[in-house]
Amino acid sequence: MIVPASTVLGLSAVLFGIGVFGFLARRNIILMLVSVEVMLNAVNLSLVGLGSHFDDLRGQILALFVIAVAAAEAGVGLGLVIALNRNKPGASVADLTQLKW
């Protein structure tokens, strides 16, 4: 391994923190979903780093499953965005204050 596992974990923590900030601060619902993707990428990084450190393939397998679930999440999330946009144009979460249309 070319760098210690703690370096990879630190990078993963920084990326996850950026994703958390983006998810909480952005007001555009699509960009909030993209921030979730940034967080998932950070988790994948830590999984692969630890898998490479322990010489264990399970880290990579788990990261593959995370990618598959991220694809499912993107599909359902963006379907919801389109359905919301049909009811109320725009993608700002500040507009979504009603429980029912």
């Binding site: 391994m1 070319i2 760098v3 210690p4 596992a5 370096t7 990879v8 974990l9 630190g10 990078l11 993963s12 923590a13 920084v14 990326l15 996850f16 923190g17 950026i18 994703g19 958390v20 900030f21 909480l24 601060a25 952005r26 007001r27 555009n28 699509i30 960009l31 993209v34 993707e37 940034v38 990428n41 994948n44 990084l45 692969v48 490479s52 010489d55 393939l57 990579q60 397998i61 593959l64 499953f65 990618i67 598959a68 679930v69 991220a70 694809a71 499912a72 999440e73 993107a74 599909g75 359902v76 963006l78 379907g79 965005v81 389109i82 359905a83 946009n85 725009g90 993608a91 700002s92």
Partner: protein, 177 residues
């Protein structure tokens, strides 16, 4: 070896910078392009860590499919006044505090607790290298269709449910429904 280490630190710095730009740009399309840069740099890190298949999947699935899907929806929605709006809500300092505290906590756990336990040093090589090297496609395939066959099938069910759900959610409602 120093060249590879330097490459890792370049990828790490570039991915942090792209992630920061992605969450702070006002124009959503610019954000998406910075996320693309982030995904490609993370794929490079996977390559350096010996996960060649995962690097390929990252480029094909994340950068090639998921991100393009996000861009499609972004252009479908047509948000012309998005660049005129403030990119953050009024509470963004609170969000920054939460993000920074998460980084600080995770970093502390990383440095203080994991490093003395020996996670910072490479483990002693115990297994004799036989067959294809770590991270090669054949080993991952054998794992996926051997011990991980059931989770693999469940993931395919999850994807099927997501496809059906996305169609049901996004299609136009029939009149009266």
């Amino acid at each position: 070896m120093t060249l590879l280490t330097g490459a890792f630190y370049y990828m790490a710095g570039a991915s942090v910078v792209s992630a920061l730009l992605a969450v702070t740009r006002r124009n959503p399309v610019h954000s998406m392009l910075w996320v693309l840069a982030l995904f490609l740099h993370v794929a490079g890190i996977f390559l350096l860590l010996g996960a060649e298949f995962l690097a390929a999947v990252q480029v094909l699935v994340y950068a090639g499919a998921i991100l393009i899907f996000y861009l499609f929806v972004l252009m479908l929605l047509d948000l012309p006044d998005e660049t005129a709006r403030p990119p953050f809500g009024a509470h963004w300092p609170l969000a920054a505090v939460v993000g920074l505290s998460f980084v600080a906590l995770a970093w502390l756990a990383d440095v203080e607790m994991l490093a003395p336990a020996g996670i910072g040093v490479a483990p002693a090589a115990t297994s004799v290298e036989t067959g294809p090297p770590q991270g090669s496609l054949s080993k991952i395939g054998l794992e996926l269709f051997g011990p991980f066959a059931l989770p693999f099938e469940i993931v395919s069910l999850v994807l099927l449910a997501a496809i059906v759900g996305a169609i049901v959610l996004a299609r136009k409602r029939a009149a009266g429904a």
